[in-house]
Structures are given as structure tokens and as C-alpha cells.
């Protein structure tokens, strides 16, 4: 392809930073929303992923090489995200892309870029059930993983939590996207089967001029409390309008709203009775490590969903590369399950733990990574089961207060069928 050299040079020059890797650098890609509707959440998630890169390099790198992560903004726009992914795959030859966040962007990247190219796509935030369908019909070719569970688990967990806290009549207000539709449906189904009543089931679109109509509709039929599904941003406004309109100040919040920023913006004085769920585990020391490191590096730690999942995604990918002594997409795909699960020697988050993992691997030991968001057991569709954390707001702070194990959730699901 001599003729293409000139063009290649031109593009390389224009990309400036491309292919300047030294002899021993492993480059992975990341596509996340840094602007657009998910920008607020995405910026923190990206910091989570970057922290993992930092820890990995501090702990010895990947197969002795420096790990580098090229991060692209998808502007919360599918065509831009797909283009970014294609660029990462074609020009940077990345074996792995961490991302994207919104399912609507992750899906086209998966179908048109990463799966055909044999590149691992591992998302820390895309919870749509569609991925499971795609994996089942073979479209993903096994190159798809996510470090968040599908919505199905959380819906059930939340229904169980609501029931155990004595809620009988719950209004549901959900964000009208793949995440909100999936989670709200699962919740409604499970909560009804558990004997509760969903008094109103109202969707809202982000970027409305006002949400009063939705809130008014949700408040009809006298609910005990509100299950609000969304992200900080629009979610904050909806919550405030609910409070302002005189709705009962009893809230159920999912992972998307597990955010200190959200609590601060709504006003902790109104969030006295809050029960939340989120995938993860409060029991691991990894979360502590992550929080401390994050605070040390960025000044403060915003409790927010998916940051830990992004960190874990990068860590598991690096460990898979180490375990497989390579850095291709195939190596990652084949070894991700070997460094996760529940058997072997546990390793945790942080640079020193990563270093420890390297020595265990060098000694030929089987390890499993216990991440900041818990353990991971990837099934054949790339989905993971995760325990659910119960969280609440105590003294104005987002606090984890309990855990619902995977076994419990699966038990409930079985019972309900």
C-alpha cells in the first residue's frame, strides 16, 4: 500500500498524538460522554478510568509496559462516538475500548466497530437489556463486556427494598431512555408481584422546558413515595419540582442518582427518607482505596454511580492482559474471566494491590479481582451479576448501609417467576 503512505502521513500528522507510542506502551481507548446530556456524569466517570491507568502504571504497568488510555468525547452523539471508536481501532490499533456510557452510543459502536474488528468493548455504564440479546444472537462475537449489571437485577432489588421499608403505593417517574425504560419496567413488574401498587408510571424526557406536568401526573393517586429514575441534572430538577409541588418526601433512588452532587443540589434537608440501590459492594477494601486515591488526586470525592465501574473496567482489562501475556483483543476476551469470578487469590484496587497481583500471576497463581464496585462474574453474554448496595442519605451524605447479595436477588427472581 505504497500509495496510501502519503495519505497516511497526512492523517497521522493531523491526529498529532497518534502512533507516537514508544517501543513499550500498551494503548487502550476510551469513548465517553464529556459533553452533551451525560457530560456531567461522564466527566467523573472518565476520571475514574484515568485513576486506574495511573494505579496500573504505578504498580508496574501492563506486561512491563506503560499503559496509555486515549480518551475521546462522544458528545453524547452516536455518530461522533462511532467515529471516535473507529479512529481508536483503526489508527491507534487499540485492543480494548472502555465505554461508552449511554447504551444508545455503546450499541452502534459495538455493532459497527468493535465486534467486527475483534476489539473488546467494556462499558462501565450501559445497562440496556438489548446487549444481552445481541450477545445471544452472536452479534458481539464474545467481545462485549460490562462492569454494570443489566437493569433486571436492580429493578428486583429495588422492589424488594421498597417492600421491606414498608412502601405500599409508589409513584414511578423514569427517564425516557434505555436505562430508565428498562429499570422502571423491571421494578414495576417485581413490585406488583411482591404485592405493592405502582400508583402512576410516568416517563420524562431530558431537556424539557419544565417537568411540572410530569410531576403533577405522578402525584395523582396519593403515593407513599416516589421512585425516581434518572441522572443528576434533569433528575435533580424533577426531584426539586416534586418536593416543591408538595409530594411526600419519601424517595427511592437507583444507581443513576447515587451522587453526592445530586443530594447537595436537591438539598439534604428534603432528603431525610431516602432508600437507594446501586450495583456494588460496601464490603470490599477496594472502595476505600478508590475513594482515598480519588480524593487525593482530584481534591474531592463525589459519590456517583459508574466511576468505580469505570475504574474496575480498566483494572480487569489490564489484569487480563497480564494473565494472558499479551495485549490483543483476543487475549483480553479470553482472560477477563480468568482474573475475575470468585475463586483464587483475591486482589483489590490500588497500585500496590495491582503490583501484588502481578507477582501472583508471575507465580502462576489464579487471582480474582475484587473491585471498587465489587466482584465480577461475567457470564457467556458478557453480563455480570453484582450484589446490590443499599444506600441512604445520612447527615446530608450519601452513605451505604447494607447489601443485597446476588443469591438473594436471584432467589427473589426465581420466586416471582
Amino acid at each position: 500500500m505504497k500509495g496510501s503512505r502519503f495519505i497516511s502521513l497526512g492523517i497521522l500528522a493531523s491526529l498529532a498524538a497518534a502512533s507516537t507510542a514508544s517501543a513499550c506502551t500498551v494503548t487502550i481507548g476510551s469513548v465517553m460522554a464529556l459533553t452533551g446530556s451525560l457530560g456531567a456524569l461522564g466527566q467523573q466517570i472518565a476520571e475514574g478510568a484515568k485513576l486506574a491507568v495511573h494505579d496500573i502504571n504505578a504498580g508496574g504497568g501492563v506486561n512491563g509496559c506503560t499503559l496509555k488510555m486515549v480518551l475521546y468525547d462522544d458528545q453524547t452523539q452516536p455518530s461522533v462516538g462511532v467515529d471516535a471508536a473507529k479512529k481508536l481501532v483503526s489508527v491507534y490499533h487499540v485492543p480494548v475500548i472502555v465505554g461508552a456510557l449511554a447504551s444508545g452510543i455503546t450499541l452502534p459502536i459495538l455493532t459497527s466497530v468493535t465486534a467486527p474488528a475483534g476489539v473488546v468493548l467494556i462499558s462501565p455504564a450501559s445497562t440496556s437489556p438489548t446487549f444481552t440479546k445481541l450477545a445471544a444472537n452472536g452479534t458481539t462475537r464474545g467481545y462485549w463486556f460490562r462492569t454494570v449489571p443489566s437493569d433486571a437485577l436492580q429493578g428486583v432489588a429495588m422492589a424488594q427494598l421498597a417492600k421491606s421499608k414498608g412502601y405500599k403505593r409508589v409513584a414511578v417517574l423514569y427517564l425516557n431512555n434505555a436505562y430508565g425504560v428498562g429499570l422502571s419496567g423491571q421494578f414495576k413488574n417485581a413490585f406488583t408481584k411482591l404485592g405493592g401498587t405502582v400508583t402512576s408510571f410516568v416517563s420524562y424526557d431530558p431537556g424539557q422546558s419544565s417537568y411540572t406536568a410530569e410531576v403533577t401526573q405522578a402525584m395523582a393517586n396519593h403515593p407513599d413515595g416516589l421512585f425516581l429514575i434518572g441522572y443528576p441534572g434533569d433528575g435533580t430538577t424533577v426531584a426539586r419540582e416534586w418536593i416543591s409541588a408538595g409530594g411526600p418526601q419519601h424517595f427511592l433512588f437507583p444507581d443513576g442518582l447515587q451522587s453526592q452532587q445530586f443530594v447537595n443540589d436537591v438539598g439534604p434537608q428534603y432528603l431525610k427518607e431516602v432508600w437507594g440501590t446501586a450495583p456494588g459492594s460496601e464490603l470490599t477494601p477496594s472502595l476505600n482505596t478508590f475513594q482515598q486515591e480519588f480524593k487525593a488526586k482530584y481534591g474531592s470525592y463525589p459519590v456517583q454511580a459508574y466511576m468505580t465501574n469505570a475504574y474496575d473496567a480498566v483494572m480487569t482489562v489490564a489484569l487480563a492482559m497480564d494473565a494472558g501475556h499479551g495485549s490483543s483483543g483476543l487475549v483480553v476476551k479470553n482472560n477477563l474471566r480468568k482474573v475475575t469470578g470468585l475463586t483464587g487469590f483475591p486482589v483489590y484496587a490500588g497500585a500496590s494491590q495491582y503490583h501484588h497481583a502481578l507477582s501472583l500471576l508471575a507465580a502462576g497463581k489464579k487471582i480474582y479481582y475484587i473491585g471498587a464496585a465489587g466482584t465480577y462474574t461475567f457470564n457467556r453474554y458478557g453480563d455480570t451479576n453484582a450484589p446490590m448496595v443499599e444506600w441512604t442519605v445520612r447527615g446530608g451524605k450519601v452513605t451505604n448501609v447494607g447489601q443485597i447479595s446476588v443469591a438473594t436477588i436471584l432467589g427473589i427472581i426465581k420466586k416471582l417467576q
Binding site: 498524538a17 464529556l34 452516536p78 455518530s79 471516535a84 479512529k87 483503526s90 491507534y92 438489548t130 434505555a178
Partner: protein
């Protein structure tokens, strides 16, 4: 195939798909003066029509499993019919009312795509969309599809050029320049404008169908108003009124849109990286405004002598 070349194929495919929409817009705006800022709506109708017609019902989605060629034609027909539906009530209105109406309709289309899952897959979108010529030139990394798209571009280009330079096309320009004069010549301006809207929208529908086939997945998020802005930027930058300008503009604008991301990432200090998206859009906005300000006729636009605003008869006559 070398990585850069493979990306180039990908890049060209996207730009070429955009260019078909921009050719359609050139007929509507550049030649007829129809102020359509609902391009994303017609694009979406084409994309969904193609997806729904061709997706195999075996995937458990709303799909008819038609052959891809029927899907492409169906997408054009659907977009054309939709344009007819939109055009009949709005084309008699003032130009900028048409603009607001079309952008409203684009949003309505997006809302329908979001809220009618039985028809459109809703927010989960539609996947497993068949791609024409996918199996051809095996291992070529999409060159076959690029060739198909380029053939479509060529066909649309030639067809539109023929129309533009026919007597029909000259009537369109006459209508754009002076509607009263055109009507007094006995031509029904409304009917000509409607034809132009429908034909231009069919090109947009084809563009949407090819996009769906290319990405193999569509969801309501693909059809945000920013898409319309991108297509307009392509036409304005390339040169409104010129089909060749529309093609060149698509290439240049899409290159700016995608490459500037990498450049800005490289240029910014790590601390500001999360702001890079905002900075990129600010720079793109700035660049476009500079083009509009300093080269209003675009790169290849014909320089029409501009009529002085102060001499344009007052609005009711214009």
C-alpha cells in the same frame, strides 16, 4: 489493510452518506429557497423505514425482512411521502415559518421514535440492520459498502444536476428569486416548491437508510438537531446552490468535526481534557461563523450579486 487507510474508508463512507443529505438540501435550499431545518427528521424517517423494512422478524424486532434494495427504495418513498405530508400544510407559509415547522416536525419524529417501541424499538433502538454488499470483497474492511455509497452519491448527484439544469430547475430558481414573477408566469409556485421538497427529502431518506445500513444500529439519539446543523454547515461551507459544493462541504465539515477532537485532545493539557468537547464545539461554531461572515457564498458557491437589504421592498411584498 493499513489502519489509517481503514479509517479513511470509514471516514469517507460517513462523509459520503452525509453528502447525499446535503445534496438533497442543496436542491431545497440552494435552488428553491426552501428553508428546511428539519433535515434530521427526513433522515430519521429514511433510516427507520429502511430498518423496519429489512430487519428480519426472526430477531424479535418489528421487521419485515425485505431485501435491502427494496429497503433503500422504500426509505426514499417513505421520506418523500413524509415530505408531502409536511409540505402541504406548511409550504404556503412564510419561509421562516417553514423553518420552525420543519424543526418541530423533526423533533416530533424523534419523539415518535422514542415513544412507539412497537414500531421503532423505542429507546432501545433497532439492531441487526442488514447491510447491502456486506459479504462482498471479503476482508476489505467495508470497501464494498463504500463503493455502494459512492455509487449512490454519483446517482443522486447526476440525477439532481440533470433536474437542476432542466427547465424545471430553472423555474425553481425563478421561484426562489421572485415568487410573484414566477406565479405570474402561470407556474404554480406551490406545486414546484412541493416537488422540490419531496425530491430533496427523498435524498435525505436515502442518506438515512445508508446510515442505518452502515452502522447496523439506530436509536432516537442518532437524530438530534445537531445533525441538521452539520448538514447545513456542509452546504453553506461548500457553497449553497452548487452540488459540487455540497459534496466538498460534506468532506471538509465532517473532517473538521471528527479530526478537531483529536487535535484538541493532543493540544490541551491533561487537566483541561474533560473540557475538550466544549472547546471543540466552540471552535467549530467559531469557524463556521467566520466562513459565513467572510465567505458567505462558500467554497464553491457562485457569487450572486447581493441585493442591498435596504433596497429590498418591505416584507409584505418580498
Amino acid at each position: 489493510m493499513s489502519g489509517v487507510l481503514s479509517y479513511l474508508v470509514f471516514f469517507l463512507t460517513t462523509a459520503a452518506i452525509y453528502s447525499i443529505a446535503s445534496l438533497g438540501l442543496n436542491l431545497q435550499w440552494g435552488r428553491t429557497g426552501l428553508f428546511n431545518i428539519g433535515v434530521s427528521g427526513f433522515f430519521a424517517v429514511g433510516a427507520y423505514a429502511y430498518a423496519i423494512l429489512t430487519i428480519s422478524p426472526l430477531t424479535g424486532q418489528p421487521g419485515l425482512g425485505w431485501p435491502v434494495l427494496a429497503g433503500l427504495l422504500g426509505a426514499m418513498v417513505a421520506a418523500g411521502l413524509f415530505a408531502l405530508l409536511v409540505g402541504i400544510p406548511t409550504l404556503r407559509l412564510r419561509d421562516d415559518y417553514l423553518a420552525i415547522a420543519t424543526i418541530g416536525i423533526a423533533i416530533t419524529v424523534q419523539l415518535i421514535a422514542t415513544n412507539e417501541p412497537e414500531l421503532t424499538g423505542g429507546t432501545n433502538g433497532l439492531f441487526a440492520i442488514p447491510q447491502p454488499v456486506a459479504g462482498w470483497l471479503h476482508g476489505s474492511g467495508g470497501v464494498a459498502f463504500l463503493i455502494l455509497v459512492l455509487i449512490c452519491v454519483a446517482l443522486v448527484y447526476l440525477a439532481l444536476e440533470r433536474m437542476i439544469h432542466s427547465p424545471w430547475g430553472r423555474v425553481l430558481v425563478a421561484i426562489r428569486e421572485d415568487e410573484t414573477a414566477a406565479s405570474s408566469l402561470g407556474k404554480s409556485a406551490f406545486s414546484f416548491r412541493l416537488q422540490s421538497l419531496v425530491i430533496g427529502s427523498m435524498a435525505m431518506g436515502l442518506s438515512g437508510a445508508l446510515y442505518a445500513a452502515f452502522i447496523k444500529f439506530i436509536s432516537p439519539q442518532d437524530f438530534l438537531p445537531i445533525f441538521t446543523f452539520q448538514v447545513w454547515a456542509m452546504l453553506i461551507l461548500g457553497g449553497s446552490g452548487s452540488s459540487a459544493g455540497a459534496l466538498l462541504g460534506s468532506l471538509v465539515v465532517w473532517a473538521i468535526w471528527t479530526l478537531s477532537g483529536g487535535l484538541i485532545q493532543a493540544a490541551l493539557p491533561a487537566k483541561l481534557q474533560v473540557d475538550s468537547g466544549a472547546i471543540q464545539i466552540i471552535l467549530i461554531g467559531l469557524l463556521l461563523m467566520l466562513v459565513i461572515l467572510f465567505r458567505p457564498s462558500g467554497l464553491l458557491g457562485r457569487k450572486r450579486p447581493a441585493v442591498h437589504r435596504s433596497t429590498v421592498p418591505s416584507k409584505e411584498q418580498a
